[in-house]
Amino acid sequence: MIQIKNLNKSFQLYNQNDTNINVFKNINFRVNKGEVVALTGNSGTGKSTLLKLIYGSYVISKGDVLISDINIRKSSPRDILKLRKNKLGYVSQFLRVVPRVPTIDVVIEPLLEIGCEKKIALKKAQEILERLNIPKNLWNLSPLTFSGGEQQRVNIARGFIHNYPYLLLDEPTASLDQNNKNVVLDLIEKAKLNGSAIIGIFHDETARNKVATREVNLENL
């Protein structure tokens, strides 16, 4: 279960005339096992910011984020890293990898991190890359040379290769064609049935309606 309690976020920008930007105030909701909550609201309402607060990439200004019994605001960097490794997955819009590392190695990394045997990890990676229609002849190339849609699918492969009980998805279907979009939606559906608690941002309404069990509009909170 992911629980958001009275969450506030503001940015203090010291080098830009000490500007203080209030992103949102007093956000409250919870996501149970097997639920997909879609965050909605116009650009700039803080959807991505909220995901980053849950993931620990942004500092919580006030309030709490609880992931099962772990309080993100009170967790040490080591605790957060451990949580990310084992339980909390995040698919961002951007692919950040070491240049020149082959796609297949990028995809198996989350499994190697948790001590999975390389042979098994490779097999799983092949399965998911095939499913996401990444041509086999690209697997040994760095994803940094790929098209936007292909890079996004590599990111998705990384996010779904391990069965994270908690998943954060930042526009996972944004730059995909219909066929691949459906594959990704199937992956989300499967994770949902597996009991993962998922929070996602889906700009595409049909995609959202297909997988989301509930919507949380950040403008109305």
Partner: protein
């Protein structure tokens, strides 16, 4: 008599404190390190700790005290204040400021390693590549020539240097090859903690990527912990778990790597992060 007892008690307390630290399975701990150059501050009141397999990044502009701190905690520079503890291979806790010089040198070559920005500072330029690696093995007691040569060849392969170059001197190598050789020389003794001062600093970007990939794999496969000093934020983002930001010898911010880079809280860290050119 009374003084003697008092001394005994404080020693007991110290001993208890040490046992407490030991339980936490830490690898390395530096507490309240200060180093002054005359009137000038090298670094002031810096504390950090590292667990096995962790990568810590130290960032900041030139002159912020990054390298001073690194040299202090490695034992190259004598500290003016503070303590440095290492939980060594035999699970004994050593205090660098208390142990003898020869003991420290031995530790620096077995449990620890140091990769210099300029490979010429970390290599012996007038002996062969194989010799550079073998020398470290001999320093910790290896004697069988055939075996040493074999291990050296394996390591050249690991860092992607053609094994046929084993008898060539590093002066005939390119900068990137020299840096990879330096890494091999340092890792051959299986250190548990490696200190790196701008390891990709003087290299062109294609070689940088190769070394980053190499370091990441070695860290994961061998479970080595690392402290990396760099001014390149893209490098720390890819390598480090946690980072500390330094300015004028002080640590001004510390935390999770992506959190400090994506949502810096201190004025200076914000400036540092926002000054990076986008490619």
């Amino acid at each position: 008599m009374f003084r003697h007892r008092l001394l005994q008690r404080t020693n007991q307390i110290k001993f208890k404190k040490r046992r407490l630290i030991m339980k936490q399975n830490f690898l390395f701990q530096a507490s309240n390190i200060s180093k002054y150059y005359g009137q000038n501050v090298g670094c002031k009141n810096v504390s950090l700790d590292i667990n096995p397999g962790e990568v810590l990044g130290i960032v900041g502009e030139s002159g912020s005290g990054k390298s001073t701190l690194l040299n202090c905690i490695y034992g190259n520079l004598e500290v003016d204040e503070g303590d440095i503890f290492l939980n060594d291979k035999s699970k004994t806790i050593l205090n660098f400021t208390k142990i003898s010089e020869p003991k420290l040198r031995l530790i620096q070559r077995s449990d620890l390693a140091f990769v210099h920005q300029n490979p010429r500072d970390g290599l012996r330029m007038n002996i062969s590549a194989g010799g550079n690696i073998g020398e470290r093995l001999m320093a910790i007691g290896h004697r069988n020539y055939g075996e040493i040569r074999q291990i050296a060849a394996n390591w050249l392969e690991k860092v992607e240097i053609d094994v046929s170059r084993i008898d060539d001197k590093p002066s005939t190598f390119s900068g990137g090859m020299q840096q990879r050789l330096q890494i091999a020389r340092n890792l051959v003794t299986r250190p548990r903690l490696i200190f790196m001062d701008e390891p990709t600093g003087g290299l062109d970007v294609s070689v940088q990527a190769k070394i980053l990939d190499l370091l990441r794999n070695l860290v994961r496969e061998l479970g080595i912990a690392a402290v990396i000093v760099t001014h390149d934020l893209a490098v720390v983002r890819l390598l480090a778990d946690r980072i500390i930001v330094m300015q004028n010898g002080n640590v001004i911010e510390a935390g999770l790597c992506d959190q400090v880079l994506d949502d810096p809280q201190h004025k200076y860290s914000q400036l540092l992060v926002s000054s990076v050119l986008q490619v």
